[in-house]
């Protein structure tokens, strides 16, 4: 079908004055002459050598990048495993930083355990039921206070009607500088609250709450010293910690008696419960023996060990509370 013919509005031969100030480019639409072989070659699928060189350089750079990435990942793995810390402590042979009588081997770094402080107080919040004061945690608190500058505060939650005065002063007297929270390395906020189990909160974004006095004790202990590097010994410590809480403190009379017998036989071989040095096992077992009222009925080795514990001088706060 032929279209409606319109007469041309303007002639095809208009003269245009091209501007001379602009950069001139060859007309890309104009028909090419026969003297442009390279371009023809491109259109046939061959590749310009310049482009090839560019590609080769790019591949080289990518390869180097992948190698770097692998190297960094390897490094990251080694830095975040616990062994790295121990390697440092063993090789640097540092002794305890403070002048306290603590005999815990090895040192730990608060930044590694808790994350950098970002210029603000790192506050550990412990919720405990006033009906079952967590003696182990009080002992660990006093050890922490000797090692670091700790800001300790005690609060009573509205879910609890009232609390005896010794529970309000169980973390010791108020620090003179307590208005300047940033000056402290660590905060320890104890809240007496109606909770079924002891609970600890630190970083709400990165950590879920830690429940159970045994677990909180493990966390706090790691701020003082690492667990023994020997896995068998570490497991032994853990086992005693659990025994202390579940069978000694919360167990029936029969279970308690069994634990005391086990303690007795273990202490017949070694001065301390897990290896040649004091460990978390000794701290927790001592507190649980005290709290369960089993001191008088303890067998001979246990009595001797109880005396040795007392000589360490850590357990003042616990004994004060039980009076």
């Amino acid at each position: 079908m032929s279209m409606y013919q319109v007469k041309p509005i303007c002639g095809g031969d208009i003269k245009i004055d091209l501007p001379t100030c602009m950069y001139k480019l060859a007309n890309i639409h104009a028909q090419q002459g026969t003297g442009c072989n390279p371009e023809h070659a491109l259109q046939n699928g061959e590749v310009d050598p310049a482009v090839k060189a560019l590609e080769a350089r790019q591949n080289e750079i990518m390869r180097k990048l992948y190698e770097l990435k692998a190297a960094v990942e390897g490094l990251a793995k080694t830095v975040t495993t616990p062994d790295a810390d121990l390697d440092l402590t063993v090789s640097s042979s540092l002794s305890s930083q403070s002048s306290s009588s603590t005999t815990f081997k090895g040192t730990t770094d608060l930044d590694t355990q808790l994350g950098k402080d970002h210029g603000a107080l790192r506050d550990i919040v412990v919720n405990a039921n006033p009906a079952h004061p967590p003696l182990t945690l009080l002992v660990l608190h006093s050890l922490l206070s000797q090692r670091y500058r700790v800001l300790s505060t005690v609060h009573v939650h509205s879910s609890v009607a009232g609390v005896p005065p010794q529970l309000l002063s169980c973390l010791g007297p108020r620090h003179a500088d307590s208005y300047a929270r940033q000056m402290f390395q660590l905060g320890f906020t104890l809240i007496w609250k109606d909770v079924p189990k002891v609970e600890m909160k630190f970083s709400i974004q990165n950590m879920c709450p830690i429940k159970g006095e045994a677990n909180v004790a493990r966390f706090l202990f790691k701020l003082l010293a690492p667990y023994p590097s020997d896995p068998a010994l570490a497991t032994l410590v853990d086992s005693w910690v659990d025994t202390a809480f579940f069978q000694l403190l919360d167990g029936s009379a029969k279970e308690r008696a069994a634990v005391l017998r086990a303690l007795n036989s273990a202490l017949g071989r070694n001065p301390w419960l897990a290896g040649p040095d004091v460990s978390l096992a000794d701290i927790t077992c001592y507190c649980c023996v005290l709290q369960s009222g089993s001191v008088s009925s303890a067998p001979a080795n246990v009595q001797r060990w109880l005396k040795s514990c007392e000589n360490l001088g850590y357990f003042g706060p616990a004994k004060l509370l039980l009076q």
């Binding site: 970002h118 107080l121 919040v125 939650h157 906020t189």
Partner: protein
């Protein structure tokens, strides 16, 4: 001597002890329902109500029963009735063990038949309204007819609580040796500047309504009154070096208003208010660290936006399980010119905010008591010294170090009860769109 000839008994005192007594009572008709030869009425006084009965018999004729059934709702009536014990508890009334058998009934003040809103609808929780397809009343209608809306049990509870808060506030401060003062409400210069200043015509010139009595309280401190407070519209304030304990005593004492709190919770359910004793005090740097950990990007000296304040409230609630805390050592850059800088760190100030359920209820600080430093800070904030000359002058003749803050009464009630709109705790609220009732 004038003895009333009619001893009116309160509805809340209608208990089985009064059984078989003939008493007079003045109350409102809450509902009336005729059923053949009887008419059942529910008579209401504030949050208490009781069932009453007019039956055809010795004292009442058929016309009287019809008259009783036709009395409009909300009318005020005087009733002479016998108190009778009931075997089955009347669940729908506050007085569940008795009912009234009416012998005489008089209408004292009649209400118009068409009420702008029904009290039962105004008290219905929003969720229930949607589920059962029953009406609820929206806030504007309630506020337009505040006189009726305030009669609901919820409103009665809210404002009785608020009155209690105000009373507790006065009592707590007075016990601590504070003096209550009255400050001028019309002032010559806009005290804190800003757009929300109301101008009034004043003799041949104009003046402003005072936004805050702060400047006058400070002058009183310089006048050796040591501890002062004043309660009034706009802001309620106290000036002392340790306000957190007063605010805290308030929060703890509010526990004695359990009935009121439960009444409000029936219509507006909320989580019970939790707090720590002594009050939790966090520093601004900790707040910034917590917010950054939660993904908020902010500078060390940035102010907290309202969404950030609410987020911080949730974070603090999660970590410490408290709805009430104090945030201390705000950055100097975001506080008014009269705030005393922190002596240990020039970037920060001795100023604090208190929060309830993540919302600010009080902003306070130590004020600068040195005229020279005050002038420097005013210049730094580019404030016209002429406008505040009288204020600076008051510190030139010996001024003690002092500080304090202002608490919002309505906000405290709103936040304590877990309500969401401050108009609910404001009796006759004013806002840009509302000037009546």
């Amino acid at each position: 001597m004038c003895v009333p000839d009619r001893a009116l008994v309160r509805v809340q005192d209608l208990t089985p002890e009064k059984a078989d007594q003939l008493i007079w009572l003045r109350a409102r008709i809450h509902t009336s329902r005729a059923k053949g030869k009887q008419c059942f009425l529910v008579l209401r006084q504030q949050q208490f109500n009781v069932q009453a009965l007019v039956a055809v018999g010795d004292c009442a004729s058929k016309q009287m029963v019809k008259f009783a059934a036709n009395i409009t709702k909300e009318s005020i009536v005087d009733v002479e009735a016998l108190v009778r014990k009931v075997e089955q508890k009347i669940e729908s009334c506050s007085q569940q063990d008795v009912e009234l058998h009416i012998e005489r009934i008089f209408v004292i003040s009649q209400a118009e038949p068409r009420l702008p809103l029904q009290l039962d609808d105004a008290v219905r929780p929003d969720g229930e309204g949607e589920e059962e397809g029953r009406a609820t009343v929206n806030q504007d209608t309630k506020l337009d007819n505040r006189v009726i809306d305030l009669r609901t049990t919820t409103s009665q509870a809210i404002f009785r609580l608020q009155s209690g808060v105000c009373q507790l506030f006065r009592d707590t401060l007075t016990k601590k040796g504070f003096v209550e003062i009255q400050t001028p409400k019309i002032i010559s210069a806009a005290s804190e500047g800003g757009a929300n200043v109301f101008t009034v015509s004043y003799f041949k010139t104009s003046a402003y309504l005072a936004q805050s009595p702060q400047l006058y309280k400070q002058m009183c401190i310089c006048a050796d009154f040591d501890k002062v407070f004043c309660v009034g519209p706009g802001k309620k304030s106290s000036h002392h070096v340790l306000p957190p304990c007063a605010a805290f005593t308030l929060v703890r004492s509010l526990r004695c208003f359990q009935t009121e709190i439960q009444t409000v919770n029936k219509q507006f359910p909320s989580e019970p208010f939790k707090f720590l004793e002594p009050t939790l005090r966090l520093e601004y740097t900790e707040a910034v660290a917590m917010l950054r950990e939660a993904g908020v990007e902010m500078g060390d000296e940035d102010d907290l936006s309202t969404p950030n304040e609410k987020l911080l409230g949730r974070l603090v609630k999660e970590k410490y399980d408290t709805d009430f805390y104090v945030l201390d050592k705000y950055p100097l850059a975001v506080r008014p010119f009269y705030t005393m800088p922190d002596p240990n760190n020039p970037k920060y100030s001795n100023s604090y905010d208190m929060f309830m359920r993540g919302e600010e209820i009080l902003s306070g600080a130590q004020r600068i008591h040195n005229a020279q430093l005050l002038t420097e800070r005013a210049i730094h904030h580019q404030i016209d010294l002429e406008k505040i000359k009288a204020y600076i002058d008051s510190f030139r003749y010996g001024a003690p170090p002092h500080g304090g803050g202002g608490i919002g009464l309505e906000r405290v009630c709103m936040l304590y009860l877990g309500l969401h709109n401050v108009r609910q705790t404001s009796m006759f609220p004013r806002d840009p769109k509302r000037l009546t009732p």
